[in-house]
């Protein structure tokens, strides 16, 4: 082989290598949440950004998606391995502490505060630093059948039966109320009343459907019950406070409903999809569920049996008030990003009013301030409720953004489902949770 041939070969290899390498260096790669409204919204925002004349070719945005199953675990492994496959990645309130060591704080646009407000921006903060743009907010609605509740409130015989059932199971005579005025006891009484196992005349098979699968997201839904009785993961001094009357009350309400057949026996394997299917069948009177279900449950095509008679309110109240768990999904900067400058520019734009409105108009669920949401209220009336509930009732448990927050949810899911399924006592469940949390959050 001659020297000239070797040189030509080396040149060819170098050219191929540079051709293969250059696209990755020139673009901003965003790892998104696949297969849902978030993907649709992100695609629309990325298209709008790429179409802007002042965005250089090297800063155009390219999207990357991998499967939702095990998404956070795969992301954890990628970030820990120092992956450069993406510049920006999805981030959730409950996982910021876990991923913060592999990410960098970000700078938002000057409009961000006006667009989102402080409480929503705080869902993407960790140790006082902003780690992401809060593009989607999740919280809970109480979905209920207004036809059934209206009929109950107009019927004196039904009211008497309701009082009888509430006295037998809850120890006090209650009167039916409008769902917006419910306490957790009212919810429990309504759920029991609309259960055929308790009240054979009930028009529905079950009064409610609980999501009791051993899954961390199900604990996020449930924990608004003990929160209404004053529960928190820990106090200001860092002492774990789960072994409390508030947690006991929250656990007992769910146990009462499960044991009396107010929710399907298979609820211990139910999560988001199963609960929605149960409610959409028309055999359930009320359900606490993520706001993301609103679109499907009020769509005549997707839920013909209940779409026109389903309404939503904020979760019921307890002695300490009315609460809904909130967490945000957003986008943050990978510490090992190859195009940090381009990524920072996109994040700044993503936190602007222009981007927020594009995101909202394309199926996203940003929690916007009343002034901003007014501009999309006609197209997205659900966002008005989202912003209102987040501002009035939203909370994050103390320690809910820590590095071990996900592990805490996992622990609670295991222990509390153990109690609901009758495998351990409430005392053991609370003691085990307290011990495990002390270890995780020390």
């Amino acid at each position: 082989m001659t020297l000239a041939t070797m040189k030509r070969g080396a040149l060819l290899v170098a050219s191929i290598a540079s051709l293969l390498a250059s696209p990755a260096l020139a673009e901003v790669t965003v790892l998104g949440w696949p297969g849902g409204p978030e993907e649709v919204a992100l695609r629309a925002a990325a298209d709008a950004y790429n179409a802007k004349s002042d965005v250089a070719d090297k800063d155009k945005v390219e999207l990357l998606f991998f499967n939702r199953d095990g998404f956070w675990d795969k992301l954890q492994a990628d970030l820990a391995a120092g992956s450069k496959a993406f510049d920006l990645n999805l981030l959730a309130t409950y996982s910021i502490g876990r991923y913060a060591p592999f990410m960098e704080p970000v700078e938002l646009s000057d409009e961000a505060k006006v667009v989102y407000g402080d409480s929503v921006l705080s869902t993407m903060q960790y140790e006082g630093k902003q780690y992401g743009v809060p593009t989607d907010l999740s919280l809970h609605f109480m979905y209920f059948r207004k036809d059934l509740v209206d009929a109950l409130m107009k019927d004196d015989t039904a009211k008497a039966r309701y009082a009888e059932i509430s006295e037998k199971h809850l120890g006090k005579k209650l009167e039916p109320k409008a769902p917006d005025e419910w306490t957790w006891d009212d919810y429990a009484a309504t759920a029991l009343y609309f259960t055929q196992a308790v009240n054979p005349d009930s028009p529905t098979r079950y009064g409610t459907v609980l999501q009791l699968k051993n899954l961390l997201f199900n604990i996020m839904i449930w924990q608004s019950v003990p929160r209404a009785y004053g529960a928190n993961w820990m106090d200001d001094s860092g002492k774990i406070t789960v072994n409390s009357e508030a947690y006991r009350k929250g656990l007992e309400i769910y146990k009462l409903l499960y044991d009396n057949g107010a929710t399907p026996r298979d609820s211990l394997s139910y999560e988001f999809a199963e609960a929605n299917a149960a409610f959409a069948s028309g055999q359930v009177a009320a359900m606490l569920q993520w706001n993301a279900a609103a679109g499907d449950l009020t769509s005549k095509e997707k839920s013909p049996a209940v779409a026109e008679v389903t309404d939503t309110v904020a979760p019921p109240a307890g002695p300490e008030g009315r609460f809904t768990h909130i967490h945000g999904l957003g986008f943050g900067l990978n510490k090992n990003a190859e195009n940090k400058e381009g990524a920072a520019l996109f994040l700044k734009w993503l936190s602007s009013k222009e981007a927020a409105l594009i995101y909202a108009r394309n199926n996203g669920a940003p929690a916007l301030t009343p002034e901003v949401v007014a501009e999309v209220a006609d197209a997205r009336p659900d966002l008005v409720k989202l912003g209102e509930f987040a501002g009035k009732y939203g909370y994050v448990m103390n320690g809910g953004t820590s590095a071990k927050a996900l592990s805490v949810y996992e622990l609670q899911a295991k222990e509390f489902t153990g109690y609901w399924s009758g495998q351990q006592s409430i005392d053991d469940a609370l003691a085990n949770t307290e011990k495990g949390m002390a270890e995780l959050l020390k």
């Binding site: 954890q76 970030l79 199963e274 295991k414 495998q423």
Partner: protein, 295 residues
């Protein structure tokens, strides 16, 4: 063959074996060594490259974790039950359907269909099939009996998982047993018939003993598969209420990814490896002794 004649052959064998040995060293040896180090280290996702040695703390944590024993018991029970059910059913079908399959061989392709479905998809499928409001099984139970079983409730989820696993993997046992049954020389059957042996005597004293090695292998393979079950159980019930349907594989996965307890997860996998190795070694030892005794 003299030593001088053997030398080139040995060199040739070494040369041919080198890629395989290198492959095994890189893809099995390296992870095994890293696993051993992690199992005696304090390590997290942040310190994957700088684990700190911590002695046998992780092994003690696993050993004293009631969830580990709960998962071990689940895996053992699940593996044993499904292996026995699959092999029993597979054996029955192989013998019972043998005349039919001999004449209509395409039937075997239909019987093998469940094997073609990924276990995770099987789990997903049964999540729909058994769902009270969308699944056909509860629908017909409600329609005809006015009530439905709770297939995935706390008292029944284990048995539902056993049935789902058995339905998917019985065809595997059926295939092995059918091949073994077909391999029995027809002369033996003819000779026994001439001697006046009845069909059940022929089955018990001739055919089953001849099929015994296949039965043992099938039981072993199915037990190992059932013991390490992950996909369909995880999709169908997760780790179950209170961890009641967590197999050892699920326990290790959750310790690693959900709890971030990497050292503990790896220590559990090392224990599993040592126990599995001991069991397989023991079985191999017994088998070779039996072989020796027969000779």
């Amino acid at each position: 063959m003299t030593k001088a004649q053997q030398r080139p052959l040995v060199q040739e064998f070494r040369l041919l074996a080198t890629p395989v040995v290198l492959f095994l060293l890189v893809f099995l040896g390296f992870p095994a060594i890293v696993n051993l180090i992690y199992s005696v280290s304090d390590v997290s996702f942040e310190t994957l490259r700088q684990p700190e040695l911590s002695g046998f703390k992780n092994f003690v944590a696993v050993w004293s974790d009631s969830a580990f024993w709960q998962a071990s018991w689940f895996s053992f029970r699940f593996g044993l039950l499904t292996a026995v059910l699959e092999c029993g059913l597979g054996l029955f079908l192989a013998i019972f359907l043998s005349p039919l399959i001999e004449r209509r061989s395409w039937l075997m392709a239909i019987l093998m269909l469940p094997l073609m479905v990924a276990p995770a998809l099987v789990g997903l499928m049964y999540r729909l099939v058994l769902h009270e409001f969308v699944g056909p099984v509860p629908y017909y139970l409600w329609t005809y009996f006015g009530a439905s079983l709770s297939f995935l409730g706390p008292g029944s989820s284990f048995w539902t998982l056993v049935v789902v696993e058995t339905l998917q993997w019985t065809p595997f046992a059926l295939l092995l047993f059918y091949m073994a049954y077909q391999a029995i020389p027809s002369e033996i059957a003819e000779a026994s018939a001439m001697d006046g042996a009845k069909s059940h005597h022929r089955l018990w004293y001739i055919e089953l003993p001849l099929m015994l090695p296949t039965i043992v292998v099938a039981l072993l393979i199915r037990f190992i598969d059932g013991f390490r079950v992950f996909d369909n159980v995880y999709v169908l019930t997760g780790s179950g209420p209170g961890g009641s349907t967590a197999s050892l594989s699920i326990y290790i996965y959750e310790a690693f990814f959900k709890q971030g307890a990497i050292g503990k997860a790896v220590a559990a996998s090392v224990i599993l490896f040592v126990v599995s190795f001991a069991v397989l070694y023991g079985l191999n030892f017994i088998a070779s002794r039996r072989k020796g005794a027969i000779r």
